[in-house]
């Protein structure tokens, strides 16, 4: 297996899988009697053709970077965190509580506090499944799924019964104070002139980039990352080396949940300016696809997040400009997960076979 060049694994196979997913999506578009070429045009121009489009694409990408990193960090410890959705939901609650609790004088201070709140709440929501996995061997996939639902109910309760302002009808918190609004791309020096006031992309994007870098450092440069990776590759060997499984699972999942929770600084603090139901919009699940495509590496996660940001924004435009429902994006997303994740061996096996045969042939020669 080590005879297959690295670029095949990190580039060729994902790209081919992506292509297959897109081709099948195109066929689906044809099936519902629409024009796939036109669909692509609308998506590309809507998501990438203007600063407005980019503003939204990068906004969505920011969400996906956080959830993608969350999945990736857990994955390195061989934990499949499917609970990003719930953790990001709770992160939103944390951010909202922090922002509503005090009259923050400036966004920068509020941001730091909100980051702590979001990360803590997200981490807390990952803590129970992590603990049960570490200590009692409860399958983390199932418990995190369950926690997604429990989290949704909890948020529902909080919004309806606790946080909804008097007299308001929709289950949402009050608006945050204007002082806590994060600067959007429009407000930033240098690039501000390109973006209109309405684009939601905000300084959280840079925090997401920072998170990528920090995750990279963590995983590949620190002792903790070494232990996480070692445990993820071989649990028995990690135990031999005196690495505590409980510690690794807990720490990795807390970081993972914290990253998912951090997403809330973008969608809740940066864009919504209040907490609404379902503010996560499936970003937790998209994080799985992003991490899969990005091969659990921050650079890959970043690129895949941009791709999904493009799909998301482009899909929104599709619904507006054509009669293709926005659900097409859900289908594309499903196909990307299917082909880059579950069907990965479909191409991998023959491709690796090819390289092994070539290696063997070279050996003979």
């Amino acid at each position: 297996m080590e005879k297959t060049p690295k670029w095949v694994d990190v580039a060729l196979i994902p790209v081919l899988n992506l292509l297959i997913a897109f081709v099948i999506s195109g066929i689906v578009v044809l099936l519902i009697g629409e024009d796939p070429i036109k669909a692509i045009k609308v998506m590309v121009s809507g998501a990438l053709g203007s600063p407005y489009g980019w503003g939204y694409t990068l906004y969505y990408a920011t969400n996906f970077i956080f959830t993608g990193l969350a999945v990736a960090v857990a994955y390195h410890a061989s934990q499949f965190n499917i609970g990003g959705e719930g953790q990001a939901t709770l992160g939103g609650l944390g951010v909202a509580l922090v922002l509503l609790a005090f009259p923050w004088p400036h966004w920068s201070i509020a941001l730091i506090a909100a980051m702590i709140g979001g990360a803590l709440f997200g981490a807390a929501w990952a803590a129970v499944p992590a603990y049960l996995q570490a200590k009692r061997g409860s399958h983390i996939v199932i418990t995190t799924i369950m926690f997604n639902f429990i989290g949704a109910s909890l948020l529902n309760y909080m919004l309806v019964n606790v946080l909804r302002p008097r007299g308001a009808m929709d289950p949402a918190t009050a608006r945050f104070a204007k002082e806590t609004y994060l600067p959007t791309f429009h407000d930033l020096p240098l690039i501000g002139q390109f973006f209109s006031k309405s684009v939601p992309a905000n300084v959280s994007f840079f925090i997401a980039l920072l998170a990528c870098w920090l995750v990279w450092i963590l995983i590949w440069r620190t002792k903790l990352g070494f232990e996480i990776r070692a445990f993820g590759r071989s649990e028995t060997a990690a135990r031999y080396a005196g690495i505590s499984p409980v510690k690794v699972i807990m720490v990795a999942m807390l970081i993972s949940g914290g990253l998912a929770g951090l997403m809330a600084i973008n969608n809740v603090m940066g864009q919504g300016h209040r907490l609404v139901l379902n503010s996560v919009e499936g970003a937790g699940f998209i994080g799985i696809a992003v991490a899969l495509m990005g091969r659990n590496h921050p650079v890959g996660v970043f690129l895949a997040a941009i791709l999904f940001g493009f799909l998301y924004q482009g899909g929104g435009e599709l619904a507006l400009e054509t009669t293709i429902p926005r659900e097409l994006i859900t289908v594309i997303q499903a196909l990307v997960i299917l082909f880059t994740g579950a069907f990965d061996n479909m191409l991998r096996a023959p491709i690796e076979h090819f390289f092994v045969a070539r290696a063997n042939a070279q050996k003979e020669a």
Partner: protein, 306 residues
Amino acid sequence: EPALIYDLGGKFDKSFNEAAYNGAKKWAEETGGSYKELEMQSEAQREQALRKLAESGANPIVMTGFAFGDTLNTVAPDYPDTKFAIIDMVVDQPNVESIVFTEEQGSYLVGLMAGMASKTGTVGFVGGMDIPLIRKFACGYVQGVKAANPDAKVIQNMTGTTPAAWNDPVKGGEIAKAQISQGADVIYAAAGGTGIGVLQAAADGGILSIGVDSNQNYLHPGQVLTSMLKRVDNAVYDAFKAGADLKPGIKVMSLADDGVGVALDDNNKALVTPEMLTAVDQAKADIISGKVTVHDYMSDDSCPVQ
């Protein structure tokens, strides 16, 4: 080019949003004009949807549902040259027309009919999301029922606490069945798409139901007593017609100006007795003349009758 944004229940909820759609369609057919429309997919995309339409130059932009209120409040100032109209919510901005209905009056009328049609003396109410607006429906309905039969019992249920409550026909059906078993023989559904399940369960259970917003009598001919019409279609039609000249401020659509009413057509002809017709007409006249006032739940967040 005007634009219309539907709320989460979706364009074809056979109820609230569909009424809006019908208004837009009527306008398009009459004027031959075209309009943009957008269905909300998720709570979080409201702002993007609004902005998207505003950026694209649509004017006026009409949206259905109170849930847009907060978002519109922040978006409207950014597009001073665009006119917005919001249904079911008051948004105080110089370029926004807020259209509200006196649903309590329409509900009073159907309540009156329910009270008269009920043989068991027990009627039901199934609301969608538990919010003051829907309690307003319920309160008007109860007042009407009691006007017809002071001893009548009204069973009230809400479907849920989130927007998903507008779109859960299975749950609507279960709630209706529960009410039937408690003796209800007329059930009023004010629950958007959820109401479809209520009407279905009522028809299955051999009792009468009352539709809402659009005329839903046709869904189960002979089994839907009537529908409480909320002329969202007219509101949209008017807004589209006014175009860029849309008048900001609050517009109340009441019984007096046919903003609300009861649906009478061939489908429920056999169910509506002459006495009912007389009573409804009388009540209508009394309400318009001010002789009868129907309490509005939202005025003080309480209902005098249960």
